[in-house]
Amino acid sequence: MSNAYLTYAAKRLGQAVVVILLAYIFTFVVVSILPGDPVTSVLRNPQNGFTEEEIAEIIAAQGLDKPIIVQLWNALSGFLTGDLGMSMRSNRPVSTLIAEVLPSTLILASAGLAVALVLAMLVAYGTRFVPKKYGQGLLRGFPSLFLSVPNFVIGLMLIHIFGFQLGLFRVINPDSFWATLFAAIALGIPVSAQIAEVLIANLDREAEQEYAAVARSRGIGQARLFATHLLKPASLPVVTVVALTIGELLGGSLITETVFGRTGIGSLVQRSVSTQDLPVLQAVVSLGAVVFVLVNLIADLLYPLLDPRVKIIGGRKRSPTTADETAIGATKAVTP
């Protein structure tokens, strides 16, 4: 563990903390510019049957009568101490609401990631073994096809074919094994496209390196070249790409949960959007940012330890492989 690495780690950690705080403030600002006054429209809704005194009490308890900057300060200090406030709708702590539905979403998201990884590896590694004559081009076309299909369409197709036609699972029982598996497939397919694109590009680049040419001239077979020379250098950068797809997994699970009728963070967001339950939305969105930032921090700190080609110079990561390009590639900007 070198000095340079520690400096780099400290710098990245500081950056992550700043970004998380700013993300919280940003969401707070977006959520509080809501037109109209959702607070009183929820509270004064006759269906909820609050009396005037109760309304005044709730407003005082939530601190909604204070200036916006004081509200922000209170919310932020609560956030830092793990207090996410009270739901406006159900009058329960937001953290309880989230904790109730989190396991279901975690199962879905991790299953989705597993599907994405397996599929991406099958497609990308497959391009090394399927000859051009027998459909390598088809295999290479998969990522862009997967990127073009909205995940709710994949979900509906799976429900239609495997649920309705083949009767493998019932939509009314969304937590069964098959239903969860198909939800994970719907979630994982678009994510796999990003991973596969980067993997394919890396494999192509490594195959053109001089060491690969030397290995080939020694008469090494395609399979051994792949296994002993290409696999590792091409696959390592995927760590950073997977970290970047976390946002996609979180956002995608929102739609997948709706399609498959699952209860989870996504359905919580849906409900809070329709009832304008701002504290819940604020909490979910900023927690999403926390997860994304932390996962990427871990990936960035882990990567120099995994890949000896990455050198840290002056507190910055420098890599002879185009690490920046892979990062952008994952956000679909540049596909080499």
């Binding site: 940003f26 977006v30 862009s144 299909v149 369409v153 946002g247």
Partner: protein, 282 residues
């Protein structure tokens, strides 16, 4: 990539220019599909004689046939007509989203890359924040904040695309700023803004174009997702995402889902192919 410092050097290799316009068959097909979709959005009446709103109740839930290419829905409306008439809203909102992303993100990237210093630091943190919030969640809270309408869904999608355009533009600007010809322009007395306008912007825009095209495809998907969740215009609007959302309640008549889904996928696939081709010919 290669630099283009002004119009003259671009026209120097006219042979190269022609070679650059060699169009592969799949790209030609993609361009054709996008052209048809654009025509649908401008002149929907030319492509179907059915009404997208008024149906014939006796003809409800008919399968695809020569009369009704994509079948009919639960109110006896022609699904093909619904798709064609929904195109304008789906396509124009994706365009709005891209324009917001390119203009706002491009400006941020241009300014922070060109000025550097504390401006760069401030914008870099803003971009970090926008990247940190999961894109779709960001779009959802923005559209919640400004109201459920297709135009607002477009704005929300645009906001969620700002960060990536800012990143790419900034990187391109910094790359160009260090080029020899920019140094030469400085030495021959060019002002900062002249150089920004004349040399930096054209070079940066060359890699922003394929990204914008790609983002157009992605915006179609994001807006369709928002419409699917009911955050766009309510029925009888017939945005592609909304059509699929309505169709999901009639899975026994699967063309109600598959027809609009097929059009969406084909459009996005074509747009992505064009973007890829633009990047290659660059």
């Amino acid at each position: 990539m290669s630099f283009v410092s002004n119009a003259r050097s671009r026209s120097l290799g006219s042979g190269g220019l022609l070679a650059g316009f060699h169009v592969p068959a799949t790209v030609a097909l993609s361009l054709l599909i996008v052209a048809i979709v654009l025509a649908w959005s401008v002149l929907p009446g030319l492509f179907t004689s059915y009404s997208p709103v008024v149906g014939v109740p006796a003809d409800k839930l008919l399968g695809p046939s020569a009369l009704h290419w994509f079948g009919t829905d639960h109110l006896g409306r022609d699904v093909y007509a619904r798709v064609v008439y929904g195109t304008a809203s789906s396509v124009s909102s994706a365009l709005i989203a891209v324009v917001i992303g390119v203009v706002v993100g491009g400006l941020i990237g241009l300014i922070s890359g060109f000025l550097g210093g504390w401006v760069d630091v401030v914008f870099a943190r803003l971009v970090d924040v926008l990247l940190a919030i999961p894109k779709f969640l960001l779009a959802v809270i923005v559209v919640t904040a400004i109201g459920f309408e297709t135009i607002n869904a477009a704005i929300a999608t645009g906001v969620s695309a700002v960060a990536i355009f800012a990143r790419v533009t900034r990187a391109e600007v910094i790359k160009t700023r260090q080029a020899t010809f920019v140094e030469a322009a400085y030495l021959s007395g060019g002002s900062r803004w002249f150089i920004l306008w004349r040399h930096v912007l054209p070079n940066a825009s060359r890699s922003v174009l394929p990204l914008a095209v790609l983002q157009f495809g992605e915006s179609i998907l994001v807006i369709a997702s928002l419409a699917f969740l009911g955050y766009g215009d309510p029925p009888p609007a017939s945005d592609w995402g909304l059509l699929i959302s309505i169709g999901k309640d009639y899975l026994k008549w699967p063309w109600l889902v598959y027809a609009p889904a097929f059009v969406t996928i084909l459009t996005v696939l074509s747009v992505n192919r064009i973007s890829r081709w633009l990047r290659k010919t660059d």
